[in-house]
């Protein structure tokens, strides 16, 4: 068990677990959080999991932990770790089963006041146009050959099918496609699971939410992103569905033997890994990138479906009902990036699990319009609470491998949430607060109750206080669609 005394305070929002804390640590752990936030996780395993992550071979710099941290499996949620390329390792469990789970934000010039009477119809239309639920089939079903094109092209494939615009692609992390995807490294079973699921939301904590831009903190950045106070926006949170889950599962199984072959000792079987330059490591990278591209295409199709829903309900009722893309970011991904670490530029594999990229102004890979303001960082709150739009900073490049938080972060177990909260009562409370709800399961709704999550405003205060992201706008929900 780790106690507060084991941590060294760097400043109000930065703490460190020194490498000397445990003999098998290869690097220290740096935590971006307030004292209060750290005290609240001391009775669970997120810090212990961060220390375990610090044992991965080939790590450079520090293992980083964001303020929305909570225990996961193997690697903590909110964790970031960079391994040296090409002889460091890649760990599928440090990326997660839902490869490229992420968030897309669409914005509009639709004033809430003008459409407040249409929100219920909008929630129903989104629910109808965007398939959701356990194992649900998607809006688009593809052949194996077509799926391989999705793997190679990501959002570019969606553009060719008429589901996207060039602006959508420009405003997506990696422009909607990770290079180096290799469909021959994806199992037949993964392909079978993926073929019917493109354009589907899934279940669990995935959602589509209609928000209103409630408050602007950086007028210039908001203007560049097209975020206008009092106007509607849409968030889409989902990932690579069964396709990504199966790819991760296949490689976590295979790597159980790989660690023995490479003589790698680990404190947890879920952290299994292989050197990036090994056949096993290269195969996983190729397959993982297929799942990442699948997820980019998946969210793109869902964005297209959301636009159809808006057109169906609002065309002719408001002057401009269109939704433009603000940005799309991943929060479960492994990527080769170059960062200045320990005073020198190094090519590394950055594992982000429950953490987002947050590149600062002038960083490579940003669309021209965002070069001056930095990369948008999307931080969805819990159901019924605020969400945030932030931007990456120069400090995030220097201190957090260009990374920031990904959400509110859970504090209550699903078991406790469903004992504490009745799904139908929660739905009624949300509706009474003016939030229109469509949910596939009342039990699932209860597990995602707002009280099961941290205060997203406090999480954002911590990343803003640590200067690894800057506030742009706060969003308030008016309709939620859950699988």
């Amino acid at each position: 068990m780790i106690s507060l005394q084991d941590l060294v305070k760097i400043n109000k929002y930065e703490w460190e677990i020194p490498q000397s804390f445990r003999q098998d640590m290869r690097v220290p752990v740096r935590i971006f959080a307030s004292r209060d936030m750290i005290e609240r996780v001391l009775d669970e395993k997120s810090l212990e999991q961060a220390v375990n992550a610090a044992t991965l071979p080939g790590l450079v710099g520090r293992v980083l932990v964001m303020p929305d941290m909570h225990q996961g499996y193997g690697f903590p949620i909110g964790g970031v770790a960079a391994t040296r390329y090409p002889d460091g390792v890649i760990s599928p469990g440090a990326i997660g089963y839902d490869i490229n789970c992420g968030v897309r934000l669409l914005a509009s010039q639709i004033e809430l006041e003008a459409v407040s009477g249409e929100l219920d119809a909008l929630a129903s239309a989104l629910n109808a146009h965007c398939p959701s639920g356990v194992g649900g089939k998607g809006a688009v079903q593809v052949s194996e050959k077509e799926l391989e094109r999705v793997c190679l092209e990501g959002s570019r494939w969606a553009l060719k099918q008429g589901f996207a615009s060039e602006q959508d692609l420009r405003r997506t992390e990696e422009f909607g496609c990770l290079a180096g995807a290799d469909p021959t490294k994806v199992s037949k079973r993964a392909k079978e699971r993926g073929r019917p699921q493109l354009g589907s939301l899934g279940a669990g904590n995935h959602f589509i939410e209609v928000d209103v831009v409630d408050q602007i903190f950086d007028a210039e950045a908001a203007r560049v992103m097209g975020l206008a106070e009092g106007c509607l926006a849409v968030q889409i949170h989902c990932g690579s569905r069964g396709f990504g889950h199966q790819i991760c599962q296949d490689y976590v199984d295979d790597f159980q033997a790989a660690v023995k072959r490479y003589g790698i000792q680990l404190p947890d079987k879920e952290l299994v890994c292989a050197p990036l330059n090994s056949p096993e490591g290269r195969d996983y990278l190729g397959a993982m990138r297929c799942a990442a591209n699948f997820a980019f295409a998946n969210r793109q199709i869902l964005a297209h479906s959301a636009r159809q829903a808006f057109e169906e309900v609002l065309a002719g009722r408001v002057k401009n009902w269109r939704l433009h893309q603000v940005y799309d970011i991943a929060h479960n991904m492994g990527k080769l990036e170059t960062h200045e670490i320990d005073g020198k530029l190094q090519k590394v594999c950055v594992h982000r699990k429950g953490a987002t990229r947050a590149f600062g102004p002038g960083s490579p890979g940003l669309p021209e319009e965002y070069a001056a303001i930095g990369q948008p960082v999307l931080v969805p709150g819990s159901m019924g609470t605020a969400s945030w739009v932030l931007v990456g900073t120069q400090a995030s490049m220097e201190r957090s491998l260009g990374s920031s938080c990904h959400g509110a972060g859970r504090v209550m177990s699903r078991a406790k949430a469903k004992k504490t909260v009745w799904g139908s009562q929660l739905r009624d409370e949300l509706e009474a607060a003016g939030i229109h709800v469509r949910a596939g399961s009342m039990a699932g709704l209860a597990e995602e109750a707002p009280q099961a999550y941290k205060d997203v405003d406090a999480v954002v205060e911590a990343v803003a206080g640590a200067e690894i992201a800057r506030k742009v706008a706060r969003l308030r929900p008016v309709a939620v669609i859950k699988g």
Binding site: G135, G204, Q249, S413, R414, E447
Partner: protein, 148 residues
């Protein structure tokens, strides 16, 4: 339509074999125990179905077998449970009767499967996190964490 079978969420903790949900902040954790390894695997499967709220239609049971190989008992357990998850997603089927045989690094399971009539929650995958099958006082125990 036949009768529905609901995997019970309430277990007698003193029973020779069973499962119960453990608090886990983000995912689902299941404690499983049994007086034999095949029964431990069966209880883990029943517990997983209970967590995801699976209901099976009792009208159309069919026989199905699963054969798996892994380098460890824990690997066999993960693969077995993942195989059942896949059966649910691919064929919308769940096992009502499960008989497990273990021999060396192989598992053979004989199932009676029926159509899933309802499922309240989904499981993405079965994880290896801190997975360790142990024997304490003649009882086999394991804690399994599911990514949800």
């Amino acid at each position: 339509m036949g009768c529905k079978i609901l995997y019970t969420e309430i277990m007698d903790h003193n029973a020779a074999a069973g499962y119960r949900e453990i608090d886990h902040t983000a995912d689902w954790e299941l404690a499983v125990w049994a007086d034999s390894l095949p029964e431990l695997f069966r209880q883990a499967a029943l517990g997983m179905y209970a967590l995801s709220g699976v209901r099976v239609s009792g009208a159309d049971f069919q026989a199905q077998t699963i054969t798996l190989q892994a380098s460890s008992l824990e690997g066999l357990l993960v693969k077995f449970l993942n195989e059942l998850l896949y059966l649910g997603e691919d064929q919308q089927k769940a096992a009502q009767a499960i008989e497990v045989n273990l021999a060396g690094d192989k598992l053979h399971a004989a199932l009676q499967i029926g159509t899933i009539a309802a499922q309240t929650k989904g499981i993405k995958a079965v994880t290896y996190h801190n997975l360790s099958i142990r024997q304490e006082g003649g009882i086999f125990r394991v804690n399994v964490i599911f990514d949800v």
